[in-house]
């Protein structure tokens, strides 16, 4: 087999740059609009709605004849938010912080799923994907940027995004029993309310581990191109197997750390899986979209409709898997009707800001992929994959938006130019890193021991 290389043309770079600039302009525009309208809205209208929300929560408590703690707890939480002596961040800035965090989590997911995809192909000794593994590998190049961005931005966003970081919640008048109970998760081995050493350490260790395995697996993949020795494949498989075990734990814990702790009083035992499912199906959609676009530009002759069919089945199956996890979480909370759990869905469903996102989430991530990708032909034809993948990519952005925003912005949450602009900036940065690294190595591994099998793949 001859070598094939992707050239990241200056035209493509220019398009990306323009998209990034448009995103930046939209972001500025959105911020200015928020600055002008944010305050009055937040105080008058929002307060009213929040009162209504509490009424609902109280009703729930009464109807379930449960102890009064949960609602009381929530009210207490509000109290220290308002007169606990904290400096209130302006809504527009809070909105930027929120967007920063949503996109951090979303694009970290894409990068780590790139590595995860490669790892499961090795661990399962899969032959079909031999021709397209370089695309997820290129996506994983975003990992170090994601880690640095996340670590730095965490210190900016922490007091607005992560309520539990407020030190006065752990002693004195505003002491919060629930958070004191959970404090070891964040502050161990230091005292509750001080620096969250355990939390920050986890973040650093996870990114370091992921990056380390990424470097190792990448090294073997590229070394194989040069000498064609099959030992590289065996080594990559060994690293992949170890990485998968680490990823199983770290993906769940990072979901609790980075997303679930935005609502620190609430918990769901499904959450790790839920975030993984969302990251995974979204990563598959991005891989497929890049493959399809590359093919339409004349690259990747080694990938044909049989391979697209397989990855299409992946997307179809995991869209349903995501829905299954989503529904399992929703049904149990809905049916048990315990106020401290239902508050999560009440915040999202009983609100004019988030209700549409809640249903849009289901439409984009379940109904449309399910119906559009059901037939065999749909998975084999690039035109339909090119339609469904963007739907899923946008849909899962909304999924993360819906996980994080209500906990941060409460009734001030909105969707506008700020959100679109920030997503575009992050997306351009991610694509820039992915594509420039894709251009640095051959587009497919010409010495992969299973390339021949992949070329004859037939389903």
């Amino acid at each position: 087999m001859t070598e094939e290389r992707f050239s990241f043309t200056s035209g493509a770079k220019k398009t990306l740059m323009i998209t990034g600039i448009v995103g930046f302009v939209l972001l500025i525009l959105g911020v200015i609009m928020n600055m002008n309208s944010g305050h009055g809205h937040g105080d008058a209208h929002g307060g009213e709605e929040h009162a209504a929300l509490h009424q609902v929560a109280d009703d729930l408590v009464a109807s379930a004849e449960a102890p009064q703690e949960p609602a009381g707890e929530h009210a207490a939480e509000e109290a220290h938010g308002e007169d606990g002596g904290h400096h209130e961040t302006a809504p527009w800035l809070k909105n930027i912080y929120n967007n920063l965090w949503v996109n951090n989590v979303y694009f970290t997911g894409l990068a780590i799923i790139g590595l995860f995809f490669v790892a499961i192909q090795y661990a399962a000794q899969a032959g079909w994907s031999a021709g397209m593994k370089r695309i997820p590998l290129a996506m994983a190049h975003w990992l170090p940027y994601a880690g640095i961005l996340m670590l730095i931005s965490w210190f900016f966003v922490k007091s607005d995004v992560f309520h539990w970081t407020h030190s006065d919640l752990y002693h004195g008048d505003h002491a919060d029993e629930i958070l004191i109970g959970k404090s070891a998760l964040w502050f161990w081995p230091l005292s509750a309310g001080s620096f969250p050493l355990f939390y920050i350490l986890r973040m650093i260790v996870f990114f370091a581990l992921w990056y380390m395995f990424f470097i190792w697996i990448k090294r073997e993949m590229l070394a194989e191109d040069i000498d064609g020795d099959v030992k590289h494949w065996y080594k990559a498989r060994k690293y992949s197997a170890i990485f998968l075990v680490i990823f199983a734990v770290s993906s769940s814990v990072s979901a609790w750390d980075w997303i679930m702790s935005v609502d620190p009083h609430w918990f769901s035992t499904m959450f790790g899986w839920y975030v993984f499912a969302s990251w995974w199906v979204n990563g598959l959609a991005v891989i497929t979209l890049i493959v399809v676009v590359l093919k339409q530009n004349g690259y990747l002759k080694v990938v044909n409709s049989n391979h697209l069919h397989d990855i299409g089945k992946f997307i179809f199956g995991f869209s349903i898997f995501w829905t299954y996890i989503w529904f399992s979480q929703f049904l149990l909370i809905y049916y048990a009707n315990i106020p401290e759990e239902t508050i999560y869905f009440i915040e999202r469903l009983d609100s004019s800001q988030y209700k549409w996102v809640f249903f849009l989430n289901l439409l984009l991530n379940f109904l449309l992929p399910f119906l559009l990708l059901m037939t065999r032909d749909a998975k084999r034809h690039m035109s339909l994959l090119k339609l469904v993948c963007p739907i899923i990519i946008v849909g899962h952005w909304f999924d993360f938006y819906l996980m994080i925003t209500p906990g941060v912005m409460q009734e001030n949450g909105s969707f506008g130019f700020t959100e679109i602009g920030m997503l575009m900036i992050f997306g351009v940065a991610f694509l820039f890193v992915t594509l420039s690294n894709l251009a640095k190595a051959p587009l497919y591994a010409k010495n992969h021991p299973m390339l021949e099998e992949s070329l004859h793949h037939h389903i």
Binding site: F327, Y335, N337, M374, R376
Partner: protein, 176 residues
């Protein structure tokens, strides 16, 4: 001549020879009744010119039937026939019905697909199988040509099959 009674059988030793033979025989204008092989031969259905199965359509329709049936059943039972308050929910609240609906959709879709497949393939209990040649259960591939479906004479067909690489060319007559 009655159809499904008189066959010419080409016996092949090798699946690669079989694949090229099928193309050659079809190009000579002979209609092939069926090819029997002891193991799945990749690409055989393509050279035989078979259309893709329409079984997924049956699966979808049976699935739709299952969804409808499950929802109707539960809404009627818990909403109208015997209304019960469970966990403070509405009589006919959809979320708790979803697992049952999902299961019935899968069940009806699967069973319906199996039944459809059995009917269109004429597989029924106590059906006596027609074996063209006992060796298809061991190591030979057999191409069966129905004489009644072809306008060519038996000798012409036999020479076409023989030229295509068959190791034997036999006659087969079913009395039933």
């Amino acid at each position: 001549m009655e159809s499904n009674k008189n066959f010419v059988l080409g016996i092949y030793d090798d699946e690669d020879v079989l694949l090229s033979a099928v193309t050659k025989v079809r190009e000579s204008g002979v209609k092939i009744h069926e090819v029997y092989s002891p193991f799945p031969v990749h690409g055989l259905d393509e050279v035989l010119g078979y259309k893709r199965t329409r079984l997924p359509i049956a699966a979808f329709l049976f699935g739709l039937l299952g969804t409808t049936l499950a929802l109707t059943m539960q809404i009627w039972m818990l909403g109208f026939d015997w209304p019960m308050i469970i966990g403070g929910k509405n009589f006919a609240s959809i979320p708790p019905f979803v697992p049952v609906t999902f299961e019935l959709t899968v069940l009806l879709s699967a069973l319906g697909m199996v039944a459809t497949f059995m009917i269109i393939s004429d597989l029924k209990p106590y059906k006596k199988p027609r074996l063209m040649d006992i060796r298809i259960t061991d190591d030979k591939h057999v191409m069966a040509i129905d004489l009644a479906k072809n306008s060519l004479t038996i000798d012409q067909i036999k020479s076409i099959v023989g030229d295509s690489g068959a190791s034997e060319v036999n006659d087969k007559k079913f009395e039933d």
